[in-house]
Amino acid sequence: VPLVRSWDDEHVLFHPGSGDTHLLDDDALRVLAALRAGPATAAQLAARLAPDQEAPAIAALALSLAADLAALGLLERDPA
């Protein structure tokens, strides 16, 4: 379980698996939090993040953030 500390609208996250520390903004932290509940497709992730909003725009944004987080080793992408 990662350790997170937050100040204003920025967050530092320590990932015990890699030993790395990351500086994250609100959106990135929301994506991570939304995926705590379990894996999701882009559309499901968008629905978790912003149930009231138009899904495609949020989904694109969430997918791009999720890709960045995956590159940092904080998320895994299902190749299927």
Partner: protein, 306 residues
């Protein structure tokens, strides 16, 4: 009894014999050396340090000597041993004293894992510490040397030790290391400062050490909480400027400057986060030492934020 109470011959005899027992902060060192440069440097730099008797526990057994090798005749060298091990390559003999200081820093930074150790100067006023992390060339040591000549207490000029148990800074008052132009800058700033002879051509350029203030040595057991984290940057001709820095950015930069942050894992993260939580973070640009000191004094005079 203090180191400065010993006659030069007595000091040399101790260094050649069973060793000189010095305490700095929580650590006791037994120092042995036959080199005149080491004895002279210790006499000037550690005069105010208490002399320990031979019965207490010693954390590090340290020796600085000139090895008997092929270099000895033509290019005499010096080496640093701790508990019989040489962690560094030998250096030219003229660098014996700086090597002792670097070696003592290494002993602490490589072993004191009950602390988060940050490569930073740290000073105290009004019961709060200011941490000054910075890469070489940022003017950290110059600023630190000037502040401790003007009423700030020296906790360390090189190793900020944050105790994991309570997030307080453990003092490690030792000589302040100055490099290149800083040596003349501080001599002009405070002509009364006690320094040793500059040593040229080291890996850091010309280095000299100055004696830590007496008050800092006397209060070496007084830990204190962190009030500020200030990232100094010397910029010729620049106006004095103190700009608030988001805590998250301050956190990342301190972590980058910590020796054992990765080693400590989650415990280091939590300790640093608690420190950053309670501190104010700033970027600080300066060119005039008097103005820089006024800016720090204003910080110290301000109310503790709720």
């Amino acid at each position: 009894v203090k180191v400065g109470d010993l006659q030069p011959a007595q000091l040399r005899a101790r260094l050649r014999g069973d060793g000189l027992l010095l305490r700095t902060g929580p650590y006791a060192f037994r120092i042995r050396s036959r080199l005149a440069g080491v004895a002279d440097g210790i006499a000037r730099m550690y005069a105010d340090f208490p002399l320990l008797d031979g019965r207490g526990f010693v954390d590090f057994h340290v020796q600085v000597d000139s090895p008997w090798n092929a270099h000895r005749l033509f290019r005499p060298q010096v080496r640093f041993l701790v508990d019989g091990v040489t962690p560094f390559l030998p250096l030219p003999l003229a660098q014996a004293y700086p090597m002792l200081e670097w070696g003592l820093n290494w002993c602490v930074s490589a072993h004191a894992n009950d602390h988060l150790i940050v490569h930073a100067a740290v000073i105290e006023k009004g019961g709060r510490a200011a941490i000054l992390p910075a890469p070489p060339g940022s003017g950290k040591s110059t600023l630190c040397a000037a502040l401790v000549q003007r009423g700030w207490r020296l906790l360390s000029d090189e190793l900020t030790m944050i105790r994991l148990a309570d997030r307080r800074v453990t003092p490690l008052p030792r000589p302040v290391s100055l490099k290149n132009q800083s040596i003349a800058v501080i001599r002009d700033f405070e002509p009364g400062v006690v320094g040793n002879r500059p040593v040229a051509d080291t890996i850091k350029g010309t280095v000299a050490h100055i004696r830590p203030p007496l008050d800092s040595v006397r209060r070496a057991d007084e830990t204190c909480p962190v009030g500020w984290i200030v990232f100094p940057q010397y910029e010729p001709g620049a106006a004095t400027r103190l700009s608030p820095l988001p805590r998250s950015r301050g956190f990342m930069r301190v972590a980058d400057n910590a020796f054992n942050y990765s080693l400590l894992g989650g415990a280091g993260f939590e300790a640093l986060a608690d420190v950053v939580d309670a501190a104010q973070c700033y970027d600080f640009t300066y060119s005039q030492l008097d103005e820089a000191i006024a800016a720090f004094d204003a910080l110290a005079a301000a109310e503790v934020p709720a």
